[in-house]
C-alpha cells in the first residue's frame, strides 16, 4: 500500500522533459534540479519524499535513459501512475524499484490530491475527492522486484 500526494502532469511527458539531455553529463543528484524543467521549472523544489507522479498517456516516450527513473527515485517519488506508458521507461521504472501502474482514470486526479494505492488489488483511493479508481494489478514477480528495491537488489538477494 502506498499513500502520498499527487504531482499531476499531462500526456506525452517524454524522457527529454524528465531528464533534459543538456544536463546528463552531471551526476543524477546534480542534474535532478533540472528534471521536468521544460514544463515545470519548480518540480525539483515541489516534489516531496513519498509523492506520486501522475500523468496521462504515453509517459516516458523517447530515450532508453534510466537516468529518468533514477532521477524520480532520487527526488523521492514513491510511485508512478499513468494512463499509459512507453515500453522502455516502464521497464526501467520497475528495474530501479519504482512501482508503476496504469490507470485509465488519471484524468480525474488533480495536483495535490492525496492518493492511496493498493497494487495487489488494483485500486487507487483518492482520499481528497473521496473517489476510487481501478488500476492495473502488479503480478507477484514484479512485486518481488519492487519490494527488493529494484532488479539489482533482487538479484543480489536471490543470489542468482
Amino acid at each position: 500500500m502506498i499513500e502520498g500526494k499527487a504531482l499531476k502532469y499531462g500526456n506525452n511527458i517524454n524522457t527529454d522533459i524528465i531528464s533534459p539531455p543538456q544536463y546528463m553529463e552531471l551526476s543524477i543528484e546534480e542534474a535532478a534540479r533540472y528534471a521536468m524543467s521544460a514544463v515545470d521549472p519548480d518540480f525539483y523544489r515541489k516534489v516531496k519524499k513519498g509523492d506520486l507522479f501522475v500523468a496521462g498517456d504515453n509517459l516516458g516516450s523517447g530515450s532508453s535513459r534510466e537516468t529518468s527513473p533514477l532521477t524520480l527515485k532520487y527526488l523521492g517519488i514513491s510511485m508512478v501512475v499513468a494512463r499509459s506508458f512507453a515500453r522502455i521507461f516502464y521497464r526501467n521504472l520497475i528495474n530501479v524499484g519504482i512501482p508503476a501502474v496504469e490507470c485509465r482514470e488519471t484524468g480525474r486526479i488533480r495536483e495535490g490530491d492525496l492518493l492511496k494505492v493498493d497494487m495487489k488489488k488494483g485500486v487507487i483511493k483518492n482520499l481528497t475527492r473521496k473517489e476510487q479508481y481501478r488500476c492495473q494489478k502488479l503480478p507477484g514477480h514484479v512485486m518481488k522486484i519492487i519490494e527488493a528495491g529494484g532488479l539489482f537488489s533482487y538479484l543480489m538477494e536471490e543470489e542468482i
Binding site: 543538456q22 532508453s64 526501467n92
Partner: protein
C-alpha cells in the same frame, strides 16, 4: 499458422520451436551495445563490480563513444575517458570513438546481421531491423543483466504490418515514408510491438534509405522495426565480407495485429512539427516558418545517400542569409566517402559547415544547440520540447532534401519536384 520475422527470430534465440505474441521467453543475446552517455557510467560499472561477475563474452559486446565526442566540457571528456578505460579493463576489443553515431557504426562494422538479437542502451537500436536483425533499446539495469549472463527476457511482440507500394516522387525520400507512417500509426500506436515494413517501395530502397525508416520505429513506441531479407541486404553484408547468418522472412499467412497500406505515388514531402514526432503534415501545409538552423546529420539522416541528395540540391545555390546549415555525416567512413565523391565540398561551397560525425546536435549535447525563439529543421529523429537546446526553440523534422531546400530558402519548404 504462419509466423512473422520477430516471432521466428525470437523463437530461434530462445531455443523454442515456436513462440507466439505474449509469450515471455529467455533469449541469448548476440550483440550487446553500449554508448558513452548511457553505457557503463550509469549503474552498470558499479553494479557489475558488486555482482562480482565478469562480462559474459567480451567478443559480443560493442562500446561506442558517440554522444560526447568531441567533448564540449570537462564532464563530457571524463565520461568518454571512463567509457574507454572501462572497455579496455573489461577486455572489450570493439571499442570505437569518433567513428560516428552507434547504430551506423554497428551496421558498418558487421555487428548487425540477419537473425541476430541485438540489444543496446540507446532507443534507436531498432535501426538494425533494416538488416533483418531483431534489434531493440534497453535500459542500464537490463544491460547489466545481459553483461552478466548473456541473456534477457523478452515478451514476444505482436507485429504491425506496414506496406508501401508504388513509386516515390523525385523530391520524396525514405524519411518521408518514415514520418508519414508515424503520423498515421501515432506516437504510441505500436507500443510494445514490432513494426514490419514491406511492399515494393521498400524493396526498391537502398540500405541507406531503409535505415532511416527502421531507425524511427521507436517513435511509434515500437520495440523493433523490421524489414524482410532480400538482395539489397545480402549485397550490403557481402560488401562487408559477411556471409554467415540465418535470415528469415514472415510467412505469407503470418498473423498481424494490424495492417496499414500506403501508396508512395501520393506521398508528398513530410514535416513533423513541434513537439511530437507524430505531428506530421505535408511540407506545403507547415505555413511560413523562418528557420535559423538546418541540421543534416545523425543516425537517421546523415548517410551517404542523404548527403548526396543535399549536395545535388545545393549545387550552385547558397544557404540563405541568417541560416546556419550544420552537417554531421553519420560516420567517419561516410564522411570520407562523401568527401571523395565531392558532396562535402559542394555543401561547404553553398555555405554549409561540415562537422565531426556525432550525436551532439540531435540531442542538444554540443556542437549546435538552439536558442530561444529559434527554429531548426532537422533530418534527425526527435523534435521533443527542449531536446536541441532552449525549450523556447522549435524543432521540425524533415528529409535531408527538405533540410537542404529549407536551408537555401531560409524557411521550411520542400525541394521542388
Amino acid at each position: 499458422m504462419g509466423k512473422t520475422i520477430a516471432e521466428k527470430t525470437i523463437a530461434r534465440a530462445s531455443g523454442e520451436k515456436s513462440v507466439k505474441p505474449g509469450d515471455i521467453v529467455w533469449v541469448n543475446v548476440d550483440r550487446a551495445m553500449m554508448d558513452d552517455i548511457l553505457g557503463p557510467r550509469i549503474q552498470i560499472a558499479k553494479q557489475l563490480e558488486q555482482l562480482g561477475r565478469p562480462v559474459w563474452d567480451p567478443k559480443k559486446v560493442v562500446i561506442i563513444s558517440d554522444h560526447y565526442t568531441p567533448p564540449a566540457s570537462i564532464h563530457q571528456a571524463e565520461i568518454v575517458k571512463f567509457t574507454r578505460e572501462w572497455a579496455k579493463s573489461h577486455g572489450i576489443e570493439q571499442y570505437y570513438e569518433y567513428e560516428g553515431p552507434c547504430h551506423q557504426v554497428m551496421a558498418e562494422t558487421g555487428n548487425v546481421r540477419p537473425g541476430m538479437i541485438v540489444l543496446g542502451t540507446d532507443s534507436h537500436t531498432c535501426m538494425g531491423g533494416a538488416l533483418n536483425a531483431f534489434a531493440s533499446g534497453v535500459g542500464s539495469t537490463e544491460m547489466l543483466g545481459i553483461l552478466a549472463t548473456g541473456k534477457t527476457w523478452l515478451k514476444v511482440p505482436e507485429t504491425i504490418q506496414v506496406v508501401w507500394d508504388g513509386r516515390l516522387s523525385g523530391n520524396v525520400m525514405a524519411k518521408d515514408i518514415s514520418l508519414c507512417t508515424i503520423g498515421t500509426v501515432g506516437h504510441a500506436g505500436a507500443t510494445y510491438m514490432s513494426v514490419e515494413y514491406q511492399g515494393e517501395t521498400i524493396q526498391k530502397l537502398p540500405m541507406d534509405e531503409r535505415m532511416a525508416i527502421t531507425n524511427m520505429a521507436v517513435e511509434m513506441g515500437a520495440k523493433a522495426g523490421l524489414m524482410p531479407f532480400d538482395d539489397t541486404a545480402w549485397f550490403y553484408l557481402k560488401r562487408l565480407g559477411i556471409e554467415d547468418y540465418e535470415s528469415c522472412n514472415s510467412d505469407a499467412d503470418a498473423q498481424y495485429y494490424q495492417s496499414y497500406h500506403f501508396q508512395a505515388d501520393e506521398l508528398k514531402p513530410q514535416v513533423a512539427c513541434p513537439h511530437e514526432v507524430d505531428h506530421v503534415v505535408d511540407a506545403d501545409q507547415v505555413g511560413d516558418i523562418p528557420i535559423h538552423q538546418a541540421y543534416l546529420g545523425s543516425c537517421t539522416g546523415g548517410r551517404l545517400n542523404d548527403l548526396k541528395a543535399a549536395a545535388e540540391y545545393l549545387e550552385g545555390k547558397k544557404v540563405a542569409k541568417g541560416v546556419r546549415l550544420l552537417v554531421s555525416p553519420a560516420s567517419r567512413k561516410i564522411w570520407k566517402e562523401a568527401d571523395r565523391l565531392g558532396y562535402l565540398s559542394v555543401i561547404a561551397e553553398a555555405g554549409g559547415v561540415i562537422m565531426a560525425p556525432t550525436c551532439g546536435v540531435c540531442v542538444g549535447l554540443h556542437s549546435g544547440l538552439i536558442a530561444s525563439g529559434e527554429n531548426c529543421i532537422s533530418s534527425s529523429n526527435r523534435n521533443f520540447l527542449g531536446r536541441m537546446g532552449s525549450k523556447e526553440g522549435n524543432i521540425y523534422l524533415g528529409s535531408p532534401l527538405t533540410v537542404a531546400a529549407s536551408a537555401a530558402a531560409g524557411r521550411i519548404q520542400a525541394a521542388e519536384c
